[in-house]
Amino acid sequence: MKAKFLNTGFKSASFNFACDEVLLDYVSKTGIPVLRFYGFEPTSCTIGYFQGMELEIDTQKANQAGVECVRRITGGGAVMHDQNQFTYTLILPEKLLSQNILKSYEQICYSIISGLKRLNLDAEFAPLNDIVLNNQKISGNAQTRKKGCVLQHGTLLLNVDVDLMFSLLKVPDEKIKHKLIQSVKKRVTGINQHLENPISFDEISKILKEEFLKNFNFSKFEDLDLSEFNSSIEKLQSKKYSSSQWNLKY
């Protein structure tokens, strides 16, 4: 079975999530799996579907800093996305994956793990939705199932800036913020900290594209031209992912 591939480069959070949703419709209609690689520019905060925006993010500070704050269609926690991360979305018909949600997370994450093994990084799947290296988190993933498809997106940390991460995220108790940051620094890492020569977004993209192709037994990747979806993406970006109605839903 062939699949489609696209690398949309570094774009805003509202664009990225509008793009995911439009591509979900495409996969639902055609049955053809789509793999997309991308990053976030400018720096953005995204929250899980079930999170309260004001409970998680200092939105006033974020607005002042020009950081876009967007709700995802998937669950999970709040994430600061900067340019030191690699992000993927894989969308495929539900029948191509285990019906067991836990297992399907592992099936998809396996391609990230096998790619990292090629770099001699012994990463492991950490249920429910993380990938760890030496017990430190390097990747968070989130999945939704809609319209007969599974959409999973995830972030792989190339480098990590925990201080930036906490600059806009609210913490339960300000008095222990410093302690919390120190603790997260121990529990989170970027892959470049473990490599002799830092890997770039393009280099990791090349490796992971090959791994997804191999692990899902796709016959080949064909490039997907995004231009035919531009107007749908723009519409969704402005009407949904840039709207208070969606972003402040909870």
Binding site: G77, I101, L128
Partner: protein
């Protein structure tokens, strides 16, 4: 509206707003970094929780609601909600 944090053992961080009327739940809002499939089930879960009686079969009722509506939750168990709500009720 004050949400309280609760982190069940091996679970995700929950942020819950609750008000009681006697032993019954009068207001209930659930937020957090958990996963629920389908996502649109949150509102029906919150609605179901209203009028649940803490002194009755809370956990079984909630388990039954999730099963009959084919809702899958990752990050907390019905028992976790019961434990938290009991603390709030008694506290």
């Amino acid at each position: 509206m004050e949400f309280k944090n609760y982190k069940p053992k091996n679970g995700k961080l929950l942020k819950i707003y609750v008000e009681f009327s006697g032993t019954k739940i009068k207001e209930f809002k659930l937020r957090g970094d958990f996963f629920m499939h389908p996502e649109s089930s949150l509102e029906s879960l919150e609605e179901f929780m209203l009028n649940l009686d803490m002194s009755k079969n809370f956990t079984q009722d909630l388990e039954g609601f999730l099963a009959s509506n084919q809702i899958q939750v990752f990050g907390f168990l019905p028992q976790d909600l019961y434990d938290f709500l009991t603390m709030q009720y008694e506290g």
